[in-house]
């Protein structure tokens, strides 16, 4: 087992709306990422994927608030830290973040090199501009980005190029953990492939030590990450290796999600996609029992009021799922479909 880069233990965060209502968007999430590994987070819109990313990052600006739990990055506990301190000491060196609309994050009046200077100056105010340029040029060359990009403005770059530039900027200080939130969902397939290739190179060359990748595109996760966890209504409902999760999902929700995969391969045509009916529960008042019970085809009466613990199975107990039904019982019901 490799060194643990990121450990999150029973993390709970909430949003406070302007009507002073609490929304429990991340509710008891635990996971670890080892050195050199990547973890994918899947789930539908509004299930708390992006909130999880911000929470792990220590980005607790209102309306997001920290409730309890621990976030440990390479042995350093950052839970409950003031967000401004996090920004100055952790962001960039320990953990980096690529938001969903990263391409719009670039100030159009600034040249790319200025962003890199900014990032470095936060951590080392005395860094020389010439040295920064040298470092940036070397890193851009490593990642296959043309050197001229450094002296361009964001508007001069294409969408895919902008996205790759943002990734290069945010990882310039070689962070231990990179959190990528839908980095390629606004791009077409060709640019997406380039972004993914670049992220893989970052991993292989050791510029980032581990990665958390958030997307709802399951075929993409399957190809990019080592492990996948599926999130539903603020909780992790299932976790396992990418292969196990795609070909042998256990939880009824993951089972439904995997049924909506579309790939241009022989045999996909003519199959019926399984859409999960209904909508996710309101997180202002999360259901007492299983959060998926309302939409679950196999729900029993007791599912609605019994709290569901995390259950482990598989080799060395590496797979986790959250359901009252046993693994064999679930397999049995799926086989009858």
């Amino acid at each position: 087992m490799g060194k643990i880069m990121l450990e999150v233990r029973d993390l709970k965060t909430k949003y406070i709306t302007r009507f002073h209502e609490d929304v429990y968007s991340v509710d008891g999430v635990s996971f670890t990422i080892e050195e050199g590994k990547s973890l994918g987070v899947a789930g539908e819109s509004g299930c708390g994927k992006s909130t999880l990313a911000l929470s792990v990052l220590g980005y607790y600006f209102p309306p997001l608030h920290y409730r309890s739990g621990e976030i440990i990055i390479d042995g350093k506990n950052i839970s409950g830290m003031d967000p401004d301190t996090v920004r100055r000491t952790i962001l960039g060196t320990e953990i980096a973040y690529i938001p969903q609309a990263a391409m719009n994050a670039l100030n159009p009046t600034m040249k790319i090199i200025r962003f890199i200077e900014d990032v470095i100056h936060v951590h080392d105010p005395k860094a020389e501009k010439a040295a920064i340029r040298e470092q940036a040029e070397a890193r851009f060359a490593e990642l296959g980005l043309p050197r001229e990009v450094l002296d361009k403005h964001a508007v001069e770059l294409s969408g895919g190029m902008k996205q790759r530039t943002v990734i290069a900027i945010s990882t310039i200080l070689s962070p231990k953990v990179l959190i990528a939130d839908e980095p390629s969902s606004a791009l077409d397939v060709t640019s997406q492939k380039m972004v993914i290739k670049m992220m893989r190179e970052l991993m292989e060359k050791g510029y980032i030590k581990s990665m958390m990748f958030i997307t709802h595109e399951l075929p993409l996760l399957y190809n990019v990450t080592d492990d996948i966890m599926v999130m539903y209504a603020g909780q992790i409902v299932e976790k396992g290796s990418a292969k196990e999760m795609v070909f042998d999902p256990t939880h009824p929700y993951s089972h439904g999600l995997m049924g909506s995969i579309l790939v241009p391969e022989e045999g996909t045509r003519g199959t019926t996609l399984t859409a999960i009916p209904g909508t996710p529960p309101n997180l202002k008042k999360p259901p007492q029992g299983c959060r998926f019970a309302e939409r679950c085809k196999y729900a029993k009466p007791e599912c609605r009021y019994t709290g569901i613990p995390e259950r482990f199975f598989g080799e060395n107990g590496t797979r986790m799922y959250r359901c009252l039904m046993g693994v064999d019982e679930l397999k049995e019901v799926y086989s009858h479909e």
Partner: protein, 286 residues
């Protein structure tokens, strides 16, 4: 499963023509630069056919769709609608044409007028179909039917504004509109790219239902070849304003001939075959 198979593998070669074009071209000029967005394309869309137009960003898909909708004039070429040359020279003729062709766009959030309630969105459609003088009960019945077609409950939507719905619900309401309007052609421009994978399945299923129920022609524009393969009868692959390949979905995607089609297919992440990242040359790009 067998039902789904029969629903997509139909033969359309002898079906009547719905929309066709010969040498359709659009050139954008700005000063001395000329950009040929759509370059002499020929197409034949049959009645009841599910057609996909696939290409990367900048391949001219959206320009073509605007010309099909009559929002943009073609620089050259002829478009035929229901076997006759299309005439949209005056406002009245254009409105008449739009009764036959309707669209669903990529961004559901900007497809609605934020000041209009959902009721009035749907009522407009009924009025447009000449149902202005129908009794109120009948109108409500029609709206309820349209909403239940897309798995929405009209009773829950009435008196709400579009922004109170989620993206997936808005896009489904868009389909409910089409269900009421029953145009001959539906042009769907990336209708699923802004909703998650789960709602995507629902929306695709509804589009297929819509086609089966009303026999309309659906023109589906997308950059995701996996989607096109799943849903369409015929696929047109577009590169730099030209169709590089077209034919039945099975033939084009399982046995692609053009290099561009092959590349598009290889760029999509798959689950049964390995996704080859070595073909990407980061340095060669741009």
């Amino acid at each position: 499963m067998s039902e789904a198979k029969t629903r997509i593998n139909k033969d359309f070669t002898n079906a009547p023509m719905c929309l066709s074009g010969r040498g359709v071209t659009r050139v954008f000029t700005a000063g001395r630069t000329r950009t040929v967005a759509v370059d002499h394309v020929d197409f034949d869309f049959h009645v009841g056919e599910f057609v996909s137009i696939v290409g990367e960003s900048g391949s001219g898909k959206t320009t073509l769709s605007k010309m099909l909708l009559g929002l943009l004039e073609a620089t050259e070429g002829e478009i035929q609608f229901m076997g006759k040359p299309r005439d949209i020279s005056t406002g009245a003729k254009k409105r008449e044409y739009w009764k036959g062709i309707q669209a669903i766009f990529q961004d559901p959030f900007s497809s609605y007028n934020v000041f209009h309630k959902i009721d009035s969105v749907l009522l407009d459609c009924i009025n447009m179909r000449g149902g202005k003088n129908l009794p109120k009960d009948k109108k409500i019945e029609m709206m309820t039917e349209a909403c239940s077609f897309v798995n929405l409950k009209f009773a829950e939507l009435t008196n709400k504004y579009p922004f109170e719905l989620s993206g997936g619900q808005m896009q489904r309401l868009m389909i409910a509109r089409i269900f009421l309007l029953k145009p001959k052609i539906l042009l769907a421009d990336e209708p699923t790219s802004m909703v998650d994978a789960c709602s995507r399945a629902t929306i695709l299923d509804m589009l297929l239902d819509l086609r089966d129920e009303t026999g309309m022609t659906i023109i589906f524009i997308t950059h995701d070849i996996g989607l096109a393969y799943y849903i369409s009868d015929t696929v047109y692959i577009m590169e730099h304003g030209k169709f590089v390949e077209f034919g039945k979905a099975d033939e084009v995607i399982i046995n692609p001939q053009a290099a561009y089609t092959k590349r598009l297919i290889s760029d999509v992440p798959k689950i049964h075959e390995e996704w080859d990242l070595s073909t990407v040359d980061l340095k060669a790009a741009e």
